[in-house]
Symmetry: C2
Subunit: 230 residues, 2 copies
C-alpha cells in the first residue's frame, strides 16, 4: 500500500536535478494556479507544462490525458474541503459556521465552478466528495425537515455559498480592470425603462454592502428559510 499523501514515500525522490519531481498533485496545483489567474480557457496542457518548466509530453507520464488531469484537480480540491461539524442543538450557529468555512474553501480555489461548468466534472463525483453533503443532509433531517425539504435546504445552502463566493467574492478579490464592484445586481443587465419590473424589484431589495456583511445577511436569509421549513 502506498502512503496516503504521497510525500512520505521513499521510492520517489522529492527532487531531481535540483528541481522538484513532477507529481500528479504538483501538475494539478499548477493547473489550479492558471485557473485562478486566467480561467478555464487558458488552462491548456501546454500552459501547465510551461508553468512547470517542462515539455508538454512530460505531463503524460503522470496524467493519462486532459480529462485525467481534471480528475486530479477535483481530488486536490476535495482533499481540503471542510468537513462540517454540525450540532442540531445549536443548529443556527453551526450552520453559519459551516457556511463561512465553505465560502473560504470556494475562495481558495477560484474558478473551480467555472471549470465545472466548462468541462463536465460530475462524473468525478466520488463518495469522498459527497461525504460533507451527506453530513449536511443528515443535519437537516435531524432538524425535522422532510427528506424533500432536506434535499432542498442542502441544494440551496451549497448554491448560495458557492454562488456568493464565485460571483461576489471573485469579483471583489480580483476586480476586472476599470469595473466598479459597487454597482452589480447579479442577474439582469440594465434593462429598458419599465422592463422586468418584478425581477428589478426583487434584486433592488438588496443594497450594496461590503462582501462580509452581505454574506452574513445571506446567511440570515438562509437560516430563516431553513427555520420556516421546520
Amino acid at each position: 500500500m502506498a502512503t496516503a499523501d504521497g510525500t512520505g514515500s521513499r521510492r520517489r525522490p522529492e527532487f531531481r536535478k535540483g528541481r522538484p519531481t513532477l507529481t500528479r498533485e504538483r501538475i494539478a496545483r499548477a493547473a489550479l494556479e492558471i485557473l485562478g489567474e486566467s480561467g478555464p480557457a487558458e488552462m491548456t496542457m501546454r500552459a501547465v507544462a510551461a508553468r512547470l518548466d517542462v515539455s508538454p509530453r512530460a505531463l503524460y507520464n503522470y496524467v493519462a490525458d486532459r480529462r485525467d488531469l481534471l480528475r486530479e484537480i477535483v481530488a486536490v480540491c476535495q482533499s481540503d474541503r471542510p468537513q462540517p461539524r454540525l450540532d442540531a442543538d445549536h443548529w443556527q450557529d453551526s450552520l453559519r459556521t459551516y457556511c463561512r468555512d465553505l465560502r473560504a474553501w470556494y475562495r481558495a480555489h477560484p474558478g473551480m465552478t467555472a471549470l465545472a461548468r466548462a468541462e463536465d466534472l460530475t462524473p468525478f463525483t466520488s463518495t469522498d466528495l459527497l461525504r460533507p453533503d451527506d453530513t449536511l443532509v443528515g443535519f437537516f433531517l435531524d432538524l425535522g425537515l422532510s427528506p424533500q425539504d432536506a434535499y432542498r435546504a442542502w441544494s440551496i445552502t451549497v448554491l448560495q455559498v458557492s454562488g456568493f463566493a464565485e460571483m461576489w467574492d471573485a469579483w471583489h478579490d480580483r476586480p476586472a480592470t476599470g469595473a466598479d464592484p459597487a454597482a452589480w445586481t447579479g442577474v439582469p443587465p440594465d434593462p429598458g425603462a419599465g422592463e422586468l419590473p418584478h425581477l428589478r424589484r426583487v434584486v433592488a431589495e438588496t443594497a450594496y454592502e461590503p462582501p462580509d456583511a452581505l454574506f452574513e445577511s445571506v446567511l440570515a436569509m438562509l437560516v430563516a428559510g431553513v427555520d420556516a421549513m421546520r
Copy 2:
C-alpha cells in the same frame, strides 16, 4: 428598418443556385441539430459548415465568430420559449401548465443546458430572454410570497423543470446504448456499504416511474413547496 423575422425581406432571395441561402438562423439551427445529436464538443464550426454543405469560411459571412454563433443559438431558442399565462386565482393549475410547457421547450432543444455549461452563455442574457422569468417572479409576488421567497420559488421552478428535461427526459428520449433507464438515482454513484446514508435515504424516497408520471409528482412537490411559502 429590417423585418423582425428575416424571412419577409425581399432583398435576400430565399434560394441561391437551388440551395437555400445561408442565414444566421439556418446556421444556428444546424448547430442545434449537432448539439442534440452529439453534444457541445462536436459542435465545431467545421462540423456546422459540413452539415450545411459549405466551406467553414462561408459561415464567417454571417457570424462574426464562434461566440457570435452561440449568441444566435440563444436567440433562436429564446424565440420559441413559452411565455407564461399565469392566473393567481387558479395558481396551482397555471403553474403546472407553465411547467409542462417549459419542459416541452427544454426537450425541443436538447443539450442546450449542456452548452450553457460548456461555454458561458450568461453574457447573452437579454431583457427578452428574462421576460418569462419576470412574469413568473411577478406571479409569485402576487401569491403573497416575499421577494426572497419569490426569487427562491422562481429558481427552484426553473431548476426543477430544466433539470428534469435535461437529465431524465434526455435519458429517456435517446437512451445511451446498453443503458437501463429504470435504474438511475441522479446524484450518487453506487457508494460503498454504509456510506452516504442520508443522501441515499433522500434519493431512495423516489421509486421508478415513467417520465410523465414522475414529472407530475415533481410538479406536486413544487406546488406544495410554493404553497408552504405563502
